[in-house]
């Protein structure tokens, strides 16, 4: 069974059930962002990010089906460090992804190769280190995903997550018992979607 280090260096354990539930949440998030079966999605994030490792059953032992396999899209994988960004230019000459999910650290570098507006760019990151331009935020600890609503510009959680308010605290509850206080995430991300 797999162990994961979060962005804050904490070591956490996710059971196979938790990983499978989280992959479903990621799949519904990807669909909410507009990804469809057959699309090509380039996920430019660190290999340790749940945005990447929950994409395919081949990336983590214990995950039975990843988000890309649930929806049926194709993924280009890159360990997204500034030193490796140069290879993306060649990759985009050969295949043009419908969506590029890019972490804030390399957002500017990747955009240089994507100036023809054929690809939808989604800026993403763990809430602990994401910038204000984020459209998709996740918690590597709770495995929750929130994406920006195009109507109200507030954040909404992946379909299947339950949000509860306790005074000024906001809790998220995912299937298979991932629970967490996401007040900090919302504080950083901005308003919660009220559509």
């Amino acid at each position: 069974m797999p162990y994961f280090q979060t962005v804050t260096s904490e070591i956490i354990y996710h059971s196979s059930d938790m990983l499978n539930a989280a992959a479903k949440l990621l799949a519904s998030t990807m669909m909410a962002l507009g990804v469809r079966k057959g699309d090509i999605v380039h996920v430019c994030d660190l290999g340790s990010s749940p945005l990447l490792y929950l994409q395919s059953k081949w990336f983590v032992s214990g995950l039975e089906v990843g988000a890309s396999e649930i929806v049926g899209y194709k993924i280009i994988c890159s360990d997204a460090t500034p030193e490796r960004v140069h290879v993306f230019a060649d990759a985009y000459r050969i295949m043009r992804p419908q969506m590029v999910i890019v972490n804030t650290a390399i957002n500017g570098l990747v955009r240089k190769f994507l100036d023809d507006k054929e690809s939808k760019i989604v800026v993403a990151g763990d809430f602990e280190e994401v910038g204000i331009d984020a459209q998709l935020i996740y918690s590597s600890r709770e495995l929750c995903f929130l994406y920006k609503c195009e109507s109200c510009n507030g954040f909404k959680p992946a379909e299947g997550s339950k949000i509860t308010y306790m005074g000024d605290r906001v809790r998220i509850e995912n299937p298979k018992s991932q629970r967490g206080d996401i007040s900090g995430i919302l504080l950083k991300a901005g308003e919660y979607c009220n559509c």
């Binding site: 069974m1 797999p2 162990y3 994961f4 280090q5 979060t6 962005v7 260096s9 070591i11 196979s16 057959g38 090509i40 996920v43 660190l46 290999g47 340790s48 990447l52 490792y53 395919s56 059953k57 081949w58 990336f59 983590v60 032992s61 214990g62 039975e64 890309s68 396999e69 194709k74 993924i75 280009i76 994988c77 890159s78 360990d79 997204a80 460090t81 030193e83 490796r84 140069h86 290879v87 993306f88 060649d90 990759a91 050969i94 295949m95 043009r96 590597s140």
Partner: protein, 426 residues
Amino acid sequence: MQLLTHRFALILSDDNFDEFEKWSRKKIEEYQLDRLRRLVAEVKKTNSLYNVKLKELDPDDISSIEALSEVPPTSKKDLISALSSEDLTSNEDQRIFFTTRGSTGETLVIPQNDEELDEYGWPAARGLWWSGLRRGMKIVTLPPAWHRLAASEAAAVGLIGAEQVIFWGSTSEKYVQNFLKAVRRTRAQFISITTPFLLTIFNRGGKRALEGVEKCITVGAPLSIPARKKICEESGLGEIFERAGTQEGAAMDECRFHDAHHIHEDVCLLEVVKMNDVSHAAAGEVGRLVVTAFVRRSVPTIRYLTGDLAVFFDEECRCGRKLKRVELLDREENIIVVDGKRILPYQVRQIMDRDEEYCARNFVMVRGKPDKLHVIVEGGGDLNRLRRLLKDELYVEVLVESTGSIPLRFGFRPVINFEDLNKVGF
């Protein structure tokens, strides 16, 4: 839950993982011949590049795997020019795309389907078993999206029943402390990382940084015997096993004798051809590595020139396995010509590793001075002595500089261009 299809009967003894590694040479070659015939038949029907290349080869007439040596090798340029976006994206099977490093100036996009990831997971498990990974042990693995090898490894860990640990970050200097925290907090007995990252941990991670880690599997560059010894003695690491593989389909692992890599000949056929023509290099002679992947894929690699420099060993390994052995030395694009002589980082590494002060030290070679070998090392020391050592063994003029206490940010590249010096922190 495990993903991998059982291809051979499992043995799971102290020494052996499966029955394939106990086969005779004759049986291995019969198996390869059968796979080769099926591969040729398939790609002639489905791939226009190989339909031309293999025109003279009738699958039913292939009587031995040697027949393949008549086929002209395929370069990266051949593949890139023959590949269209349609080839890559029209096949519904192809779900995951990895990119090569772009170290030759062009990046190849390699699609992977379930069948291929499944096939390569099995030999990855065989290699992990040889290094001693067993059920219940913890292994910190490479970041999953880094390479096909990393994806194969996750499936292999699942097959063995070991516990995977994924650290936060990537294999660069910035994440050394994260990696070490993950190792310590999970008490992982195994780590699987790249050789440059291991060297960076060794040089930047502090004393006894890997105390308690029993085994390290490294990939990406060869480590000399003195370097392995020094790393183990000073970092507290138990033992180092080298793994090698390419996105294009080569797969190899060391056995416990650490005497070059055994080729996983169930999934690939490797050849070494001479530097200046495409005839086979003799055992012991450095040449260019050529891979044929038996696996069905939408970008087939048949007699593909990987860009690696390698050498075959023809004597049988002490472990008794009949699987051929090869050592990967370096990359063709890393050759620097100085005063008419071809020099590789591998040669510089060997010389430095024989010296106690410079053994296992990070360095880069700088391309740009046609009459002088330019080497930059991390850390201090007697640079003049190192210059003399290199000059005496390589017979060229040498310039050695040091970054002092600043770490080299060299990523995976042991050779950089002069105009990129600022990118490595110099």
